[in-house]
Amino acid sequence: MAAILSVRDLVKRYDGGFEALSGVTLDIEKGEILALLGPNGAGKTTLISTICGITEGTSGSVTVGGHDIVNGYRDSRRMIGLVPQEINLEPFERVINTVRFSRGLFGKPKNDAYLEKVLRELSLWDKKDSRIMELSGGMKRRVLIAKALSHEPEVLFLDEPTAGVDVELRKDMWKIVAGLKASGTTIILTTHYIEEAEAIADRIGVIAKGELLLVEEKQALLTRMGQKQLQIDLTTAIEAVPDALAAYKLELVDTGRALLYSYDTRGERTGITSLLADLASAGLTMRDLQTKQSSLEDIFVGLVAGDAA
């Protein structure tokens, strides 16, 4: 499938000389959800801001739907909806007016029926005539989403949509995102919650210090994470794994004093019970047992710390 968003060697150096993005290259396919994970100051917002035209890239290029964001900014921006990280709204405005304003600003003719649909889906319809300052924080965030959706974008950026949002609203947000995906919208979201990326993303990207360290299918990542290792320390060292235990694909480590067994935690049976039984019948005695799991968190922390996972 063709990429709807394509970022090439994007570098962003701020006026002070600080390099917030150092050569990011990324392709996003139509209809997918990409979650960008990364610590504070990693460059997530800078990446989004540059694609959307809020900041200017120093070098590199970006196209949205084949339109260059500099030379074809009208066509590229028309396709994009942006929900910023900060809640930026005019306190005295009424919900419906700010949403209408956004739609017009993006060049779309008035369509109150569509806006009603958006507001209803975000449970904001009964607040349409309220002033922004009369809304709760979670509602304000949804107003930002409504504004971003007001012009029917094909690509939606959500910069930490669930920061400071309670569990229930977070689940609601996930549902909204799933609904948007079902209607064909491509979504790029940033988050600090690994469970969130797991729950809704198709692919996960990890960014730190302005560099994209990894972009991988969520499923592949989960498989990597689903692997658990059991280490069996033996009382006496052995030369080789006994033939009777060949089926377990054991690995001999620690100069023959320990065996490593890899298994899938999500499988129906892990095979541990039978392994331990077979171990005993093969005449081996164990001194100790320990298990290790590599979680997305581990991979993430490892990557961010600088040593590749």
Partner: protein
């Protein structure tokens, strides 16, 4: 052109104005009446006529100009400064609009508000003095041009300002003195010769003089110069605004 966007900005900005319509209407009515009480009645009773026009009528063009200029500046500067201040500017920056569309939307709205106030003052004045406008079309054209050019100037101030103090600074320190010393309440010919010369360096003199010419057919400086001054000022502001958007100065990081 994304006219839809221009319209949205214009309508959105005007909505802010309509929310405070009563205020927008009442305050110029009251201040104009006060000016007439103080200048027209108190001082005017001592100054009989200026260049053959009653003093009360003589100050009307200056009064209108004074309000139109300050209103155009404050509306336009606030209009663009406010989104910068509360952060909603992100939307403008990420929208498929160019600088011309943004300027037409914001400056158009600010100029409209200033024009409205100018008309209110004109109407209020008519209650106090007998007004005859010799060149009504020239009068309207002058007022419109002043609204637009000063709104452009205000727009530049709004983009330049990084806090509320700076937003007030230029209007307070430069514009208000220039306007007061620009012959709003007196004819340049009433000043000693040396001051007459100095005054000619004040650009506002040309605007007020031209505007007054449209009312009474007489002016401190030739009407051609007045036209040149306002056209030049508008052109300068346009170039400045164009440069700002070209370079992203104080807007785009």
């Amino acid at each position: 052109m994304n006219w839809q966007a221009v319209r949205s900005i214009y309508v959105f900005e005007m909505a802010r104005f309509f929310r405070t319509l009563m205020q927008s209407f009442i305050s110029p009515v009251i201040s104009t009446s006060l000016y007439f009480v103080v200048f027209g009645a108190a001082i005017g009773s001592r100054i009989d006529q200026v260049d053959g026009v009653s003093y009360g009528a003589f100050i009307v063009p200056g009064l209108i100009m004074l309000s139109v200029m300050t209103q155009a500046i404050s509306n336009a500067s606030f209009g663009i400064y406010f989104p910068k201040f509360i952060g909603t500017i992100y939307e403008l920056l990420s929208a498929p609009v160019n600088f011309l569309e943004i300027v037409i939307g914001y400056v158009g709205a600010a100029a409209t508000k200033a024009l409205f106030i100018g008309v209110v003052i004109l109407a209020t004045s008519a209650l106090f003095v007998d007004l005859q406008i010799q060149y009504p079309f020239a009068m309207i054209a002058f007022m419109l041009l002043t609204c637009v050019s000063f709104a452009l100037f205000g727009f530049i101030i709004g983009i330049w300002a990084q806090n509320f103090e700076q937003l007030q600074l230029i209007p307070l320190l430069i514009v208000t003195p220039l306007v007061f010393l620009g012959g709003s309440f007196y004819s340049i010919s009433m000043l000693p010769p040396i001051w007459q010369t100095i005054t000619l360096f004040n650009p506002v003199v040309y605007l007020i003089s031209g505007f007054r010419w449209a009312f009474f057919g007489m002016a401190d400086v030739p009407i051609g110069l007045s036209l040149l001054a306002i056209a030049g000022f508008t052109a300068l502001c346009l170039i400045a605004v164009w440069r700002i958007f070209k370079t992203g100065w104080r807007i785009r990081k």
